[in-house]
């Protein structure tokens, strides 16, 4: 069980040019699936880097299970929060896929068959189980990104944080990311993901947090965040609702953030008319 709480979180990078985070209050409860969205430069990546101690607050606090994370070393936080970078090449370093994925769980103390199981389980989850002995750099960009995901997945942390898991992925890769998130959530673990893909967000997450200029401006379930009354606030952050939400609103069908929700609402509407 791991609860993350941000209290008045402020982050100013050393050049002092921008307050990347300008007072964020946010509680992420155990087992939640939370999408973090917002304009380029709104502070999303800066925020998630506080969750595993890669960045430390300029002001405010990060509480992990009620304990101030300032007292944790990065290695201690890494047992609780696994972070997958946006750019896999900032993360991948080993000469084989197996060594890459084994690094994290090995550092957590796993050995022998337990280590093997963690590695093969994570690679199977992302569909790279046939590539154990491949060099990561012989894989294309999309598969390197899935490898980076597997190497954090293998650590089995109670919290998984993904920075733009679907960029550069084809439909199959997006589906893989969606399934991994669903499986991790089904195990009762927490998932926090940054994404610009509103269709993916609406279909995969139960809660959407919208950032603008380092502050939280909207926070709620996809049905609420993409409903017509939220459009002005979304527009102020340069976001657009997914197409089914727009179509549902135009037809007066209420909150329909996903294709499935829209089709179901349309069917109910037509049955009423009959």
């Amino acid at each position: 069980m791991t609860e993350l709480r941000l209290e008045g979180l402020v982050h100013v990078y050393p050049d002092g040019a921008v307050r990347a985070l300008d007072g964020v209050d946010l509680t992420i409860r155990h087992g939640e699936r939370v999408a973090l969205v917002g304009q380029n430069g709104s502070g999303k990546t800066t925020l998630v880097r506080h969750l595993n101690g890669l960045l430390r607050p300029t002001a405010g606090r990060v509480l992990v299970d009620g304990v101030d994370a300032a007292g944790f070393r990065v290695a201690q936080l890494a047992r609780r929060v696994g972070l997958v970078f946006q750019d896999p090449d900032r993360q991948i370093f080993a000469a084989t896929v197996r060594a890459e994925v084994a690094f994290g769980p090995h550092n957590l103390g796993l050995r022998g068959t337990r280590l093997e199981a963690a590695v093969s389980g994570a690679l199977a989850a992302v569909g790279l189980d046939a590539e154990l002995d491949a060099n990561p750099y012989d894989l294309g960009g999309a598969r390197r990104k899935l490898l980076a995901l597997a190497s954090v997945l293998a650590m089995g942390t109670p919290v998984l944080v993904l920075d733009e898991p679907t960029t550069g992925q084809d439909a199959h890769g997006v589906e893989t990311a969606r399934r991994v998130i669903a499986d991790v959530a089904a195990e009762g673990r927490t998932v926090v993901a940054i994404s610009h893909d509103m269709t993916f967000v609406a279909e995969t997450f139960e809660r959407v947090v919208v950032l603008r200029a380092g502050r939280v401006v909207l926070d709620g379930p996809p049905g609420e965040i993409f409903a017509e009354r939220s459009w002005p606030a979304l527009a102020s952050t340069y976001l657009e609702p997914p197409l089914p939400a727009i179509v549902g609103a135009r037809l007066g069908l209420g909150a329909t953030p996903t294709d499935a929700a829209l089709i179901a609402a349309l069917r109910r509407y037509l049955e009423r008319k009959r």
Partner: protein
């Protein structure tokens, strides 16, 4: 006109070609999309079209790259860059890493073309304005977010004002507004005569900007044609492509036996909202 004439490319050390016998012709003002699953050859085709493969990326090219009718085999890269410009998938690969501000980064390309200072300034400012990143001008590129960096990389390319542009997933890290701005910039450039080749997984963007789309599989063209037909072709999904939102929604409405006319009207109304 930018032409790839039956190009086949094998990377140095690879046993199989990454691209087999692909022909693409881009006329002035034409926007052509490349779509297909990961590792289907999109990036390799972009590298060939820009002349970087095999000049900077080692490998063997069969077939020809023609720029405005001339075979450019053997011509050096510096002759090509003012004619055909490429934007890489990863902005950190694109950026020089030597400029202290975004302004200098965007001005870097035109300065290296040896243009008069006033031209460099005009091009830089126009490129920053087109992508609405004027407020980033004095920022340090190494301190920007991934999406901001991508816009800076595209601005740097726009400032080169090449007749042919090759864009490899230019919106991968962009928010919807950034994606729309890049789409607007592509439409404006095409209207002014630029030919544009764009590799992209976001079929919503391709549907908006492309006249023609090629779907790739295993380094070959699986099928191609007018954008609206290709993106609505059921084979796209079989190849691991995601159809545009409107195509998907329409298809699901039909499958559910719902009056598709109402859905079409709502999609049209939504698109203009």
């Amino acid at each position: 006109m930018l032409e790839l004439e039956s190009v086949t490319y094998r990377y140095a050390g690879a046993t199989e070609p990454a691209v087999h016998d692909v022909t693409i012709r881009l006329a002035a003002s034409e926007v052509v999309g490349l779509c297909g699953p990961s590792e289907s050859g999109k990036t390799t085709l972009c590298l060939i079209a820009s002349g970087l493969a095999p000049r900077a990326i080692r490998g063997t090219l069969a077939g020809r790259l023609l720029v405005d009718g001339a075979d450019v085999a053997g011509r050096p890269m510096h002759e090509l860059v003012s004619r055909a410009g490429i934007c890489f998938q990863d902005p950190t690969t694109q950026l020089s890493g030597v400029n202290a501000t975004v302004y200098e980064e965007v001005a870097f390309g035109p300065m290296n073309l040896g243009l008069p200072r006033s031209d460099v300034v005009a091009r830089t400012e126009q490129a920053l304005e087109t992508l609405r990143i004027g407020d980033l001008a004095m920022r340090d590129p190494s301190r920007l977010s991934g999406g901001q960096l991508q816009l800076v990389a595209i601005a740097g390319l726009l400032a080169m004002r090449a007749a042919h542009l090759i864009l490899d997933e230019p919106t991968a890290e962009l928010d919807p507004a950034g994606t729309r701005l890049v789409g607007d910039a592509i439409e404006e450039l095409a209207a002014a005569g630029t030919s544009i080749l764009i590799a992209e997984q976001r079929t919503d963007l391709l549907a908006r900007i492309c006249q023609r789309v090629l779907i790739l599989r295993g380094g070959r063209v699986a099928f191609e044609g007018p954008a609206d037909e290709v993106l609505a072709d059921p084979r796209l999904e079989e190849l691991g492509g995601a159809p545009p939102s409107a195509v998907r929604l329409r298809r699901e409405a039909i499958a559910a036996g719902i009056d598709v006319g109402a859905v079409d009207r709502a999609i049209a109304a939504g698109a203009t909202a």
